[in-house]
Symmetry: C2
Subunit: 336 residues, 2 copies
DNA sequence: CTGAAAGCGCTTACAG
DNA sequence: CTGAAAGCGCTTACAG
């Protein structure tokens, strides 16, 4: 690896002092046009790029944002595009992403603490939140900047720190409204029964449930025993074998919806005709199933830009709820 | 964010010089037992952690490994767990992961160049390789340390730099052997026809093809027009409607395999009975479909540890091909 | 507008 | 074994 060009060499090449080069870089307004041009020429001639480490030490800013990679097999369909978009958004502000792993729950706090103590990152982006997530209160209490994708659903009081989330309840309520407008009055829900059920899963279910109640519809739900197509197929079977089989099924995720679709096909029921099905996340699965799966698209670009904005300055309000967008495909042609 | 504890404060607290504290941290053997204990006590009392930035500047090591996040909707099923495992492996060596985005192909090189010029990372892990990947030769020619997950399939000569890959050809050949042993003699292949087909996709197909040839079996293949269940379903339909319908189908990915399974169900053909189906990656989809999908598991832990090993020291051989492990489930009960 | 000085918080030879 | 010195490559007030 060749020796890097330093500021000192640029200064020598341009015939100015090092500070002047630094000024050209960081405060160009305070340096005369002619010398600025001269220095710029030297910078380009030598291909100079400031050493980030040295700059970080001087400015006391790591220039790095920390993000913890969660273990989440099923969720990766959405979280992977999210990470990509988040990284681009952070890069747009001249910083970079440091990703790390940590144990779940309280024990994971130690990793966040280390990163801060070592001054390895300036702030965190949090995701994969759980109810009363311990990270939020810990970080907030130490004054560590962060922004959360996802709520912590506090029992009482305000959620600590800024957050951005997608209104899962609102999106599911909207699905129910559209399905109802299309003539359905047996609209069931297929959700998770494990941990996933707690935060976002519960939220999505609540939207479905409240809207069913408002419209006076029967509220039938069944649960996959894990985040799997197989579990969802069983849940769907249970609903379809009941005394009031649904004509539409709102699933809490695309993976679950694909399982539901499989069960329908097995019974020679046509998705989008005999029984309508919707998913959530608009992942690769949604566009991948035959005819396509109607799903709720999370506005990735809006989410990440709102997160980055909240990292850099206090925003009002501290929390923002974005609308999911219904992408209508053949499994449930619910166009307005 | 509270003021961090510095080495200077630890030294004062322990009543020694700063260099001695540094020695306790970096060369404990050259400091007397008694002072070491004293310093350790001070470190713990103050909760001291060395500032990574300052250390990096002094040692001229960023302590960060760069990894480019590719855009790869369908592949994320495997790449997400891979990134998690890779991050853990890197952390095991006391360094951390910096992830970044870059344009595809030649244009992306500039991003790698910047990261090196800025001394933001010490080395790179490459993945999502393409034939004659420009990154490998560029990095190798500048002496930038890197390790590649995936081959570049050079037309001629050796692949630049160290690499680790999974033997897709070998795994698919093994699948064919096992299917043949189980009585199948119409074993078709469903692959991609786009970019994915070039590297790993082609490799997997070659394994299937060579083994079919060796066993004197018919070689029928069909291709999904994108990495989708839907495309795979069409490909499977084409095969099943042919004059010599296959009794087993080897798919190049789990997503494709799920599409094949869907097409079978639609025709009332039972996967694992009427037609056997195998996938690749052992992703969440494989365990998620009803009865489970027989798939090839990539040895994530071995891959990442081999990569990290090659980052730190030249290994012999520079490239290593790991075996994929066949995970047998109901879609193709090919147990030995 | 420009440059000499001090400092960011460490590590690394090198004296003592 | 321990400590004074120099240095990593920048930035940031502050003189001139």
């Amino acid at each position: 690896m060749r020796q890097a060009v330093t500021l000192r060499q640029v200064a020598a090449h341009a015939g100015v002092s090092r500070q002047t080069v630094s000024n050209v870089l960081n405060a160009p307004h305070r340096v005369e046009e002619i010398t600025r041009v001269k220095v710029q020429a030297a910078i380009e001639a030598l291909g100079y790029q400031p050493n980030r480490t040295a700059r970080s030490l001087a400015t006391r800013q790591a220039g790095l944002i920390g993000y913890c990679l969660a273990r989440r097999p099923g969720r990766s369909l959405f979280m992977d595009p999210f990470l990509h978009a988040l990284t681009e958004a952070i890069e747009g502000t001249g910083r970079r992403m440091l990703v790390f792993t940590a144990p779940d729950g309280e024990q994971g706090i130690a990793t966040y603490a280390d990163l801060i103590a070592q001054r390895a990152v300036d702030a965190f982006i949090l995701s994969d939140t759980v109810p009363d997530d311990p990270r939020h209160s810990w970080l907030a209490s130490r004054g560590v900047p962060f922004a959360s994708f996802g709520r912590t659903w506090p029992e009482q009081g305000e959620q600590p720190g800024p957050w951005v989330d997608v209104d899962g309840a609102g999106a599911c309520a909207e699905l129910v409204r559209r399905l109802h407008s299309a003539g359905h009055d047996q609209i069931a829900f297929v959700g998770w029964c494990d941990l996933l059920a707690m935060g976002a899963g519960k939220d999505r279910q609540r939207g479905w449930q409240d809207e069913c109640a408002r419209l006076g519809l029967l509220e039938q739900a069944a649960y996959a025993d894990s985040d799997s197509m197989d579990g969802a197929a069983s849940a769907a079977a249970q609903l379809l074998d009941g005394s009031t089989p649904p004509t539409a099924i709102v699933a809490a995720s695309d993976l679950l919806a694909v399982g539901v679709v499989g069960e329908l096909r097995r019974r020679k029921l046509r998705p989008g005709h005999d029984v309508w099905v919707t998913g959530f996340d608009d992942s690769v699965l949604a566009s991948s199933v035959e005819g396509g799966l109607t799903s709720v698209s999370q506005p990735t670009a809006e989410i990440t830009s709102a997160l980055v904005k909240r990292l850099d300055a206090e925003q009002d309000p501290a929390g923002v709820l974005l609308a999911g967008q219904i992408v209508s495909r053949c499994s449930a042609p619910v166009d307005l």
